[in-house]
Symmetry: C2
Subunit: 473 residues, 2 copies
């Protein structure tokens, strides 16, 4: 089929306004937010319904056209834009953004895939419910993308990954059939679990078009604390203890290195480390509860007090008001911007078993120190889940002076990932694979596991038209 | 291969003591606990290691011998014994019962598949941790079976199904390869999610040989309450309110019908309904917390008090001591025995969206009342998950007088399941499919869903040798 004819056929399905084929109008959909990945596509197709998606997929399948599903285009792994030189189409879900059903008595919500995360959070809030997934990109990322990448974030400790929040899915399969698995049941042992095959598959096995999701009662009270702890092993013990004391009331446990704290204060106007005492490590702790803030603070104080007296913790600040809490969280949410201003931060989204976090940090620090003595180690992460963003920071002058930038990127990655994997960990904890981590899939995945994944891919998408070149090498 | 030669080859793999081939020694493995399902097999093979399982599977694959994986043989759907006339083998995992690793600092435990649930619970307890899965069969059911059936129980409301407790799996695939996916990571977005394909697949896609599982801090305090609520819709509202007030401290929310309460008191010596006031419905509520029992009771009392004053709740009893709590739970745990003594209880393990529970009970009651006016409706279940065991009880005289017992069983099932499915529910919430529910798979599953399941089965087990005749029609 000639390209023009394909575009005409697509317009017959989604309407002329649903087909973007001019260079200028396509541009925002072909480049990602940090400008590292630029692709090309015959057109950007914007369907308005599941049946339109199904027709688009069937047409592309018939003519061997590659499809690149796209949500809010906030991937950090190049997973949301097509590759350069692609002659496929982008299937953008933004026009499918309806909230189909919100039922507080069922603690569930059903939405189309293009619904923006922040809008879903607000809808839940207005029904006095909580949708707990929270991400930096929540103002623009879409539920379909969150599902396809099994998004993580700061509330995973309490509420799980996106996978754990999905009750049911609707998916257009690569052959154009619609699987309507939308349901809100908490229990359903009738055959194989299909939804988890598609969750986290990054659009390579089909296009998620709608989802039923869990809602939760919204704890009315919360406090946030920042605790300075010089020794990482002690910080981990404190995190574990807090999990024991507060159980499900502990809703976030984030680790921030002193190096990161300094970068935020340096680059983000109006921020500073609210604790005067210096410390190698800081724990950001959030407690949310139906108990009052005062009770939460008392219980936290009872535990932290002796840690301060013994010198294990050097200082602590408890934020009870919304404004105080926001100023602590602002530090955490500013790290990406601060790091970007400082230089080239090679970021590694690793996870290790929780008890191996300190060993990972020590061994990686030693290895990077030997190989790149001028680089700085910056760490921030969801330590309660064993998930760290481990950043090897080259200041601008240092980075500019490097002859082989890509080579350095890969060499640093190997050092860090080798150690994580050796400790039973992973090279991609929450960001996914996209186009960026295909070499790591090849290097680190167990061959049986990789073979099973390839088999699933060939089974569902034998012509390899659904987001080709992503996830699997 | 002749049968004797196969048994000799199997003995070379697992040792002579690992092969049971005499009728008497095989017997306990070929019949299930309630005596409804009896099968046959060439032999019962009891491997001691994953590599032995892999060799057994490879040998059977080579010679076209069907394999029936078996854990503690506590299935209620005929899923754990081979069919009659089978010439395959039972692969019993009981000798693989090691606790491989227990790490409280990682909140994880890794065990072989044959480990009995109760033993795992005790091991966790001795490390001051909680493994929350709790089942009537916990003294004999095995982790491999719990995983393969995605077991449920009374703690799902707080901690999820078995699926939610699994961090990693080791599986022997139908082709004899070993997939070692044992890991304890909380986050790992590196490719497709494989473990959920095998969880709940009832051994039809491979044999689970080991698993890494989540542990939790163990709340030291708990109270149990029984609340009499005449109207089901009000009971549901109260359950929902309690979820809002107690959030993760609400660890169980069970519904018991008055008819069930009467049967327990009638048939189980030493039990009685501890509430004098009559009521159509009772809620059994469990709260577990790091707060004291007194605080829990105060907070529960604050909520329940006005419900009693207004007459919405008729009576309530709070149990604070271990012995009091046990006596309330004894009622709940005695229902199967009481129902068995009363007559033939046709039990249906349905789930519907939580807000549809009352509609389901009303419509099913009307339909069964019209068709079987002499039958009694008995309901007990995990109402917090929308999962009811809906029992149509024929007393012995009534059942014995029926001409077509199998026909009645199917007709009753159709009435109940039709209504559940129409309300967006399922005909098997936590018990699985086994051999029993194949007709329902055919009748109720959406064809696309069934086709996807068939495709997965054919992909992984093309010769259909792994637990054939289970799960898929």
């Amino acid at each position: 089929m000639r390209e023009e004819d394909l575009l005409i056929s697509l317009a017959q399905i989604v309407g002329q306004s649903g087909v973007l084929s001019g260079d200028v109008e396509k541009q925002p959909y072909l480049e990602d937010w940090w400008g590292r990945n630029r692709g090309s596509a015959l057109g950007v197709i914007r369907p308005k319904s599941t049946s339109e998606v199904a027709s688009v997929v069937a047409l592309c399948q018939q003519h061997g056209v590659a499809m690149y599903p796209q949500g809010g285009n906030t991937s950090v792994c190049g997973g949301a834009v097509p590759p350069a030189e692609s002659t496929g189409i982008v299937v953008n879900l933004a026009r499918m953004d309806a909230i189909i059903d919100l039922n507080p008595r069922d603690n569930s919500i059903t939405v189309q895939a293009g619904c923006i995360l922040g809008r879903l959070q607000e809808a839940a809030h207005s029904a006095d419910r909580l949708f707990p997934l929270g991400l930096g990109a929540e103002g623009s990322c879409q539920i379909g993308g969150n599902i396809s990448t099994n998004a993580g974030g700061t509330a995973v400790l309490r509420y799980g990954n996106m996978r754990d929040l999905v009750l049911g899915l609707e998916v257009v399969l690569p052959d154009g059939r619609i699987w309507n698995g939308l349901r809100t049941l908490r229990k359903n042992n009738s055959g194989y679990d299909l939804k988890n095959v598609f969750i986290g598959a990054e659009g390579t096995l089909g296009i998620v078009t709608a989802a039923s999701l869990k809602l939760f009662p919204r704890p009315p009270n919360a406090i946030t604390a920042l605790v300075a702890i010089p020794e990482l092993e002690e910080a981990l013990t404190i995190g574990l203890d807090l999990g024991g004391i507060f159980s499900a009331e502990l809703t976030a446990l984030e680790l921030i290195s002193q190096t990161e704290m300094i970068l935020v204060a340096k680059h983000i106007p109006g921020t500073c480390c609210p604790i005067a005492s210096e410390s190698n490590w800081y724990l950001l702790v959030e407690l949310a509860s139906f108990s009052s803030c005062e009770i939460l603070a008392d219980r936290l104080g009872e535990y932290v007090g002796p840690k301060l007296s013994s010198g294990i913790a050097r200082d602590a600040i408890f934020a009870m008001s919304g404004a105080q809490r926001q100023s602590l969280w602002r530090i955490r949410h500013s790290v990406t911007e601060a790091n970007k201003k400082e230089g080239m931060g090679l970021s590694h989204d690793i996870a290790v078993p929780i008890f191996e976090v300190a060993t990972f940090v020590r061994r990686s620090g030693e290895a990077i120190g030997r190989a790149y003595p001028r680089a700085q180690i910056v760490v921030v992460g969801h330590v309660g889940d064993g998930n760290l963003h481990y950043i090897v920071m080259f200041d601008h002058a240092n980075w500019d002076s490097l002859a082989d930038k890509e080579g350095t990127r890969h060499a640093v990655g190997h050092i860090v990932y080798d150690i994580a994997v050796e400790l039973g960990g992973t090279f991609s904890a929450e960001h996914g694979i996209g186009a960026l981590h295909l070499p790591e899939m090849q290097r680190y995945k167990n061959p049986v596991e990789l073979d099973l994944m390839m088999q699933f891919k060939r089974l569902l998408d034998p012509a390899n038209l659904m987001n080709p070149g992503r996830v699997l090498p």
